[in-house]
């Protein structure tokens, strides 16, 4: 079985021509991508100005992946996320306020400040959480799909992970079981070319796509900077997974604009400024999709600017709110170690 190349540049495909019906969906996708970018720009600032504690990893550049996929899902569908998880969280429906509160360790955060950037979760929208163990959520996503199948909920689970995470043996174990039991899970590899400070080609032998295929899993390679291509493919796969035709694998080529984490500033020794510029200037998922929306007359240039401004204002207000919000009371430190029935 050869990997299917989901049409590159699907956005320029006539079948994608805007109609009254889906233009709302397009605007929403655009907005969600802008929301992620705005969230990250603020998070980065918070960190650089020493207002945010800990470690964090920016999602900027990869927005089309999270949004293209999550817009094909229902709230009740599950996702699992990664150390680079803000984008998935926003895309799956989370609110800025609770997210910034979480990043700052405040009581109103999604996890009451206990999780922080690397563990942000949003159960209300099916996000089972970011994970600071690379590959650590592969079993969780597959298990969510097992619940879906066993209890017949009709839900699908999407497991986000990076190209570097394909080096974790866990993935092969769960792919095998997902394939054997036809579980409704989609493995979405956000292939941004790097694991920390190392090019993935130096640490991945053979073909990542072929690895999934060897387990009898249908695999797809798709341009992760093209939100419509991603959304299109995901929509089809989700429908098929709900019918019991899963699991599936998607290898999404994409790029992270910032360093591996916010402190990774001097990157010359592992990737060139030219390479970064190339991706940012020519392949930015937001800029390109914005242009398409204009070309297709779904939004005007002014509307695009207004939307951006509105989202940025939202984000800044949320930051302000979070900065002023209160920390959890010290007594919370021993709460939630064990879960008590409500």
């Amino acid at each position: 079985m050869a990997a299917r190349n989901a049409t590159r540049n699907a956005s320029r495909n006539t079948s994608k021509r805007a109609t009254r019906n889906n233009s709302d969906a397009y605007v929403r996708m655009y907005r969600q991508m802008v929301r992620i970018r705005a969230f990250e720009d603020n998070a980065n600032q918070l960190y650089l100005s020493a207002k945010m504690p800990g470690l964090t990893h920016m999602y900027s550049g990869q927005e089309a992946v999270a949004v293209g996929i999550c817009e094909a899902l229902e709230d009740s569908d599950n996702i699992t996320s990664t150390h680079r998880g803000h984008g998935h969280c926003v895309a799956k429906g989370a609110e800025f306020k609770q997210m910034f509160c979480e990043l700052l360790g405040k009581e109103e955060g999604y996890c009451r400040g206990k999780g922080g950037s690397m563990h942000i979760a949003d159960q209300s929208h099916g996000n089972l959480g970011a994970n600071a163990i690379v590959g650590g959520s592969m079993g969780i996503a597959t298990g969510a799909a097992l619940t879906a199948k066993r209890l017949n909920t009709g839900n699908v689970a999407v497991c986000f992970f990076g190209d570097g995470a394909t080096a974790q043996g866990l993935w092969y174990e769960v792919m095998n079981m997902a394939a054997l039991w036809k579980l409704p899970v989609i493995y979405a590899c956000e292939n941004n070319g790097y694991s920390e400070y190392t090019k993935t080609e130096e640490i991945a032998a053979g073909s990542i796509t072929a690895r999934a295929e060897a387990f009898g899993i249908e695999a797809f390679e798709v341009d992760g900077q093209d939100v419509l291509a991603v959304n299109d493919l995901t929509t089809k796969l989700v429908a098929r997974a709900r019918k019991g035709e899963g699991p599936f694998f998607m290898n999404l080529s994409t790029y992270r604009y910032h360093g591996h984490h916010v402190g990774d500033i001097n990157r010359d020794y592992y990737r060139s400024k030219d390479e970064e510029a190339e991706w940012k200037d020519k392949r930015d998922p937001i800029t390109n999709f914005g242009k398409w929306l204009e070309d297709e007359k779904i939004m005007t240039a002014e509307e695009l600017v207004a939307l951006n401004d509105e989202v940025r204002a939202d984000a800044e207000a949320a930051v302000q709110y979070a900065l002023e919000a209160k920390y959890p009371d010290g007594s919370e430190v021993t709460m939630h170690v064990f879960h008590e029935p409500a």
Binding site: G136, G139, T142, G143, T153, V174
Partner: protein
């Protein structure tokens, strides 16, 4: 009361809970037709089908991880880990994921899963199939740890484990599967964190877990002959730990020996002995004694293996010594 084997007790507990709650299911290697190599789960697949009694590939990290995800989304998985020694393979999913999910999510998510596995040496199974690793999981906040010491506990604790909202690791003694004990026909559950006073005594408290309860019962009989009255306390769960019952007993007897089949150093005996040493300090007439397994990998040779775990004679001897004040000079 009827007597059943520990094996049957576990089987009954699981079957009852599976009948009661559709979200409970079982997964592990050869749990279905084969009913596990120890035959503990025989018959369950016939009643519940392969959808709820799931044979897995030999992928311990994988299926424990899947159980975590299944538990987070409304299922109540029971995972069968064929040997306790394989815990080392699943520590990340158990300790970094399952144990921390409730806390990291501020209580928004939880992982009601049971990991059933075993402990116990002297089966000539050598270093990788004989370990008693319960101290390791007990060290990790967020996991509960149950150590049934007979068929009665095995049934009552398993049912409680399945209904718990948290990850519970339950260790059965693999040498005890065929041991019978009285177990009521009617349904019952045993609460976590409640120790059992197995035997009343005046002179010394033997705190014993799992396989060591039987050893201490025999030791108590030996001591009886020397006119020493031993009280035996079985914590039943080490997380949560019923410190009060242990301390009350020691405050009464003024002497304690803590006996557990895990390696002695950095193990369960250290935790319990140090709590007694701290909280019953002014009641102690002698230093608290610890008797764990030797700090060696479990050797295959029968000539060596039997030396590594506490025996009734050794426990009786040690308890006798502190009762007779013979260990004064050592300390």
């Amino acid at each position: 009361m009827r007597e059943i084997t520990l094996s049957k007790a576990v089987n009954e507990a699981i079957a009852e809970e599976m009948r009661r709650d559709d979200t409970v299911f079982l997964m592990g290697e050869d749990v279905a037709e084969a009913g596990t190599p120890f035959k503990v789960l025989s018959g369950l697949v016939e009643e519940f089908g392969t959808e709820r009694v799931i044979d897995t590939p030999i992928s311990e990290p994988g299926f424990v991880g899947m159980a975590v995800g299944a538990a987070m989304t409304g299922s109540r998985p029971i995972v069968d880990l064929m040997f306790g020694d394989f815990l080392f393979l699943v520590m990340d999913q158990l300790c970094n994921q399952a144990a921390k999910t409730s806390y990291m999510s501020g209580g928004k998510l939880n992982v009601p899963m049971v990991l059933r596995t075993n402990l116990g040496a002297t089966r000539r199974s050598a270093a990788q199939h004989s370990q008693s690793l319960h101290a390791l999981v007990a060290h990790i906040p967020g996991l509960k740890v149950a150590l049934p010491s007979s068929a009665f506990e095995a049934k009552g604790l398993m049912k409680t484990a399945i209904r718990d909202e948290n990850p519970v690791v339950i260790f059965e003694d693999k040498l005890m599967y065929n041991d019978k004990a009285p177990v009521p026909e009617e349904e019952f559950l045993l609460p976590f964190g409640q120790a059992n006073i197995v035997r009343q005594g005046r002179d010394v408290t033997l705190v014993a877990t799992s396989s060591m309860v039987q050893v201490c019962q025999k030791a108590a009989e030996l001591l009886e002959k020397d006119g020493i009255s031993a009280e035996i306390v079985d914590p039943r769960t080490i997380v949560p730990l019923d410190e009060d019952t242990i301390l009350d007993s020691v405050r009464k007897t003024s002497r304690a020996v803590v006996v557990d089949e895990g390696h002695q150093s950095f193990g369960v005996t250290a935790e319990i002995a140090s709590r007694i040493g701290e909280k019953a300090f002014y009641h102690l007439d002698a230093p608290v004694q610890r008797m764990g397994a030797m700090d060696v990998p479990v050797p295959f040779s029968p000539a060596l293996e039997d030396l590594t775990v506490p025996t009734p004679e050794a426990v009786a001897e040690r308890a006798g010594m502190i009762c007779r004040g013979e260990l004064v000079h050592a300390a």
